[in-house]
């Protein structure tokens, strides 16, 4: 059980790290939103599933309820995070920010 939880947590951390590196290294606004939106969502999903499993160590109705609440957080983040990213991209497009193309300087 502990091994599975650890695997989940480390997988989550791996995606979080990827997201952080991506935000720092990608060349422009839209590219940077890509890791920020996708990898953070997946990282959070994996980490919280790990926590929900860890919480079920002593199986009872109470811990099951807590785990269900953690999974609910996952559901809402899964809905809200991509939408937020979409809204930011939308605002960028409406404000007239041109996407970066290959060969340009990073900004």
């Amino acid at each position: 059980m502990d091994i599975i939880v650890c695997l989940f947590l480390f997988a989550g951390l791996f995606f979080f790290t990827g997201g952080a590196v991506g935000i720092l290294r990608f060349p422009d606004f839209y590219c940077r939103l890509h890791p920020a939106g996708k990898l953070d969502t997946l990282g959070l999903l994996l980490a919280l599933i790990g926590l929900a499993l860890f919480n079920l160590h002593h199986f009872s109705l109470g811990t099951l309820l807590t785990s269900a609440k953690i999974i609910l957080i996952v559901v809402f983040v899964f809905l809200a995070s991509p939408t937020a990213t979409h809204a930011i991209v939308d605002a960028g497009v409406r404000a007239g920010l041109a996407p970066w193309t290959k060969g340009e300087k990073r900004r």
Binding site: F76, L79, A80, T83, H86, A87, D90, R94
Partner: protein, 276 residues
């Protein structure tokens, strides 16, 4: 006038700083607060108020005067925002933009012009209107009920877990703001009119102060909720627990209405016609 204000502000600040000299040392274990109050709250809260969350009990029962005036401060903040920012414009702007809902065509109505009255086919839109984004609109419509449910849960569950009126009220207010951001201010104001905000904001304060005054009428001290036992038909300890809940509801209502009121005034610069 500015100089007088500055002098008053500096004087008050200096007096307040001078007042801190009399305070006991930071985290001094021999200070009265650490020797008398904290142990009493930690040991006696459960048997005196039957509220497991000590923070809530201290906030809404032992120090309820403090919280009552905090609520009043929030209400005053809303009123000040209203007085400073609200602009009552008698006449409508010259050109108004309407959108035909079915076809999506936008029409500009010149001054004096009218659209067919009581028609659901046209909706008024902002001058800087952008088409509602389907994804954002749908997700917000999906999330707002859950946010409001969670806000109610936070208010009602303040006895047992972190939460209470202030936090729950902010969450409820944020749900209406989300509606305003995801669609436009006009939609949000239609759901929650300015009059409703302005009415609910003092109502919350009134619920709080009224509960305290009711205790006074029932023969005990102001804000001593055990007096409510005879009204609620429970024993005095449970009555204190229920009293805290009533007060928290008042705080929640006041905070929710005030925060929406402030947002509406700020985002439309007091005109309420256009805005986020």
């Amino acid at each position: 006038m500015k100089i007088i204000g500055l002098i008053i502000a500096v004087l008050t600040g200096a007096l307040l700083i001078y007042g801190t000299v009399d305070f006991p040392g930071w985290a001094d274990p021999a200070s009265p607060a650490s020797t008398h109050l904290s142990p009493h709250f930690i040991e006696k809260t459960m048997e005196e108020t039957s509220v497991p969350n000590i923070v809530t009990a201290v906030l809404a029962d032992y120090r309820s005067y403090d919280t009552m005036f905090e609520t009043t401060v929030i209400f005053s903040g809303g009123v000040v925002c209203f007085i400073l920012l609200r602009i009552f414009r008698r006449k409508e702007p010259e050109d108004r933009l309407y959108r035909h809902v079915l076809t999506g065509a936008t029409i500009r109505v010149k001054e004096g012009g009218k659209i067919p009255p009581d028609s659901d086919d046209f909706e008024r839109i902002d001058t800087l209107w952008t088409p509602h984004d389907l994804i954002i609109k749908t997700v917000c419509r999906l999330l707002i009920p859950f946010i409001q449910l969670f806000g109610l849960y936070v208010i009602a569950h303040g006895h047992h877990s972190p939460g209470g009126g202030f936090q729950g009220g902010v969450i409820l207010g944020a749900s209406i703001m989300l509606l305003a951001i995801s669609q436009d201010l006009r939609t949000a104001v239609q759901r929650m009119r300015e009059k409703v905000d302005a009415l609910l904001s003092p109502t919350g304060v009134f619920i709080y102060a009224g509960t305290g005054a009711l205790c006074l009428l029932l023969g005990l001290n102001f804000m001593d909720y055990s007096a409510l036992a005879s009204v609620l038909y429970v024993d005095p300890v449970t009555a204190r627990s229920h009293g805290i809940l009533i007060v928290e509801i008042g705080v929640g209502v006041a905070v929710m209405a005030t925060i929406i009121w402030i947002y509406n005034n700020l985002s439309s610069a007091g005109k309420y016609d256009e805005g986020l």
